[in-house]
């Protein structure tokens, strides 16, 4: 269980997060959605322990404040939104970065790369890959860091900031399948998403953010309504349901060919 209560985050004088409550269960995929600048990355970064905050965050029942980086690293891995990379490391070396010497088994690296569809690319230089390939290498790195979704009875966590933002539909679905499998084996997943349809298809719980607040957190069917999404995103959103009651959204472009 990952619980964040009364979280306030300020940058200089500006308040970015206004005392919000967020919770995520192990064994589930929890998505954070909302317009650009709503504070999604700030919330994920705060859950990752990146910045000072007011309030209280517990991961698997333990306060993250004052936890040592090495201890946190064993329990959760983080995929940031932007990933700079200095120096010409190979793909295999990047994936290995999150591993301790003792755990750095070649098969973990190869299997993690296989899962994200990059099998056989170990020796390529990271900096010579495409944007989407780089994103998947980092995903493989993060997966390798928390390879077993449950260790010693405690769930491990993936905190992912827009893990599919540079990917085509095939790789988007592949990543969603990875994330579902991780949760299915008892791990916890928190991911920031922009694609509403992928979110509705893959998440067990959705937190909708707007202007530094969580305006709703519930199962996708309850959050995906014309009123909630329309108000948060500030545009007309028509929510439909598939026959199996999965919500989907068709954006309405004024004057577009669809009329």
């Amino acid at each position: 269980m990952l619980i964040a209560r009364d979280i306030v985050v300020k940058h200089r004088r500006r308040t970015i997060l206004h005392g919000l409550l967020f919770r995520a269960e192990a064994g589930q995929v929890t998505a954070i959605i909302g317009p650009s600048g709503a504070g999604k990355s700030t919330l994920l970064g705060t859950l990752s322990g990146d910045q000072p905050f007011e309030g209280r965050i517990t991961l698997n029942g333990r306060d993250i404040r004052g936890a040592r980086p090495a201890e946190m690293a064993r329990q959760r891995a983080v995929l940031p939104q932007a990933m700079p990379m200095a120096f010409p490391f190979t793909v295999a070396e990047v994936v290995r970065l999150g591993l301790h010497e003792a755990m750095a088994l070649p098969h973990v690296v190869a299997q993690a790369l296989g899962r994200v569809g990059l099998a056989g690319r170990e020796a390529a230089l990271f900096q010579e890959l495409s944007g989407g390939e780089q994103q998947r290498v980092h995903l493989a790195r993060v997966l390798a860091q928390v390879w077993a979704p449950v260790t010693g009875g405690a769930p491990r966590w993936l905190l992912l900031d827009e893990p599919v933002s540079s990917l085509d539909i095939g790789h988007q679905l592949q990543v969603m399948a990875i994330v579902r499998a991780f949760a299915g084996q008892g791990g916890g997943v928190v991911m920031v998403m922009h694609d509403l349809n992928l979110t509705a298809m893959s998440a067990d719980s959705v937190a909708l953010m707007q202007a530094g607040r969580i305006v709703a957190q519930d199962r996708p069917g309850a959050v995906f309504t014309d009123a909630l999404l329309g108000a948060a995103y500030g545009c007309a959103v028509a929510v439909n349901r598939t026959p199996r009651d999965c919500a989907y959204v068709l954006p309405q472009v004024a004057g577009g060919p669809g009329g």
Partner: protein, 352 residues
């Protein structure tokens, strides 16, 4: 060879086997460079005939003993220490700033060390707390430390380093340190001026066993400590936040890196004056051959830096023998164009 290729087959993209082989090659190269440094010199003494004398059980002539034991050997060892210190400082600074263009001489760390050394030479007489032979190196360490910290504070915001700010801040720091150095030299009396000029020539010619006894611990300790930074510096390549996510104590790592660089550069500058570009050339060459993994880069940089500086020193005392060329001129003639080449190759990546 069979074992090596099997390792490769099991872990493609892992260059650690190549890096370890490189370590062996570099160690051999250093041994050969050291032998050459012992064998060659302005005097007619021959290492080989001396060795032949020893092998035959004959006493060495006093002259041979002085040249080999009291002049060449400390000088070669000092070259090893200084070269290793400069190369490792460069590699650590580059890892800290996540940029291959950083060199202690370019970003003002060496200038800070020089200022510290000059302060010690000119004002040192009034400070009796530290024994005289330690005063200059310790002051150089303090100067290098202050310069590195200032540089990091200026160039890094929220865990990101601006290359432009860093290089410009390095220019400003160097200019400031040189102006203050000039002021102190102006204030100095004749004896101090002689000390300063001798030191400022930037060569290994003053190497002696007593200087070595001071420099060895000051340089050796940071060199031994540097490999402990390796995993942290690797993680730092992802940026500060992500380094924290994989379990690295980022603040502690940065503080340790700054201290190690300051100690190694400070001591190197104190004993040999300013020798530039070793810190940029050596790590860059090694990354080309065996990749940027600091677990291998740091020890290999120590070996290659030592070998190159011993060879540069050999060139400095043989090219126009019996006179000597300052070694800083030799490293600059090789390193300056090399730096420009790296800069040009980086131009696409570094947004100046």
């Amino acid at each position: 060879m069979v074992a090596v290729s099997q390792t490769w087959a099991r872990a493609p993209g892992d260059r650690s086997a190549a890096a370890r082989r490189l370590t062996a090659v570099l160690a051999l190269m250093l041994a050969l460079a050291a032998l050459a440094g012992l064998a060659a010199g302005a005097s007619g003494t021959s290492l080989w005939s001396a060795l032949a004398d020893l092998a035959a059980g004959r006493e060495l002539s006093l002259r041979d003993r002085v040249v080999l034991w009291d002049i060449r050997l400390p000088r070669v060892m000092m070259g090893c220490l200084v070269g290793a210190a400069l190369a490792v400082s460069g590699a650590v600074l580059q890892g800290l700033f996540r940029n291959p263009l950083v060199d202690p001489g370019i970003v003002g760390v060496s200038a800070g060390a020089s200022l510290g050394a000059v302060v010690a030479i000119v004002l040192g007489g009034s400070v009796a707390v530290i024994p005289a032979q330690w005063l200059v190196p310790v002051a150089a360490f303090a100067g290098a430390w202050a310069a590195t910290l200032t540089l990091y504070r200026i160039a890094t915001r929220a865990g990101r380093t601006s290359v432009a700010t860093m290089l410009l801040a390095g220019i400003a720091l160097t200019a400031l340190a040189m102006a203050l150095t000039g002021l102190l030299v102006y204030m100095a009396d004749d004896a101090q001026l002689r000390d300063f000029t001798f030191w400022n020539m930037g060569s290994l010619s003053g190497a002696s066993w007593s200087k070595l006894a001071v420099a060895a611990p000051l340089i050796g300790l940071p060199l031994l400590a540097a490999p402990a930074l390796a995993r942290g510096l690797n993680g730092l390549a992802l940026g500060e936040a992500a380094a924290g996510h994989i379990g690295i104590e980022v603040q502690r790592l940065k503080a340790a890196a700054v201290l190690i660089v300051a100690a190694a550069t400070g001591a190197a500058v104190a004993v040999s004056g300013g020798i530039g570009f070793v810190g940029i050339v050596v790590p860059h060459l090694l990354r080309l051959v065996s990749g940027p993994d600091h677990r291998y880069l740091l020890p290999n940089a120590a070996l290659l830096g030592a070998a190159l500086l011993v060879l540069a020193d050999l060139a400095s005392r043989t090219v126009i023998a019996p006179a000597e060329l300052p070694i800083g001129i030799i490293t600059a003639v090789i390193g300056g164009p090399f730096f420009l080449y790296v800069l040009l190759r980086q131009r696409g990546l570094v947004d100046l």
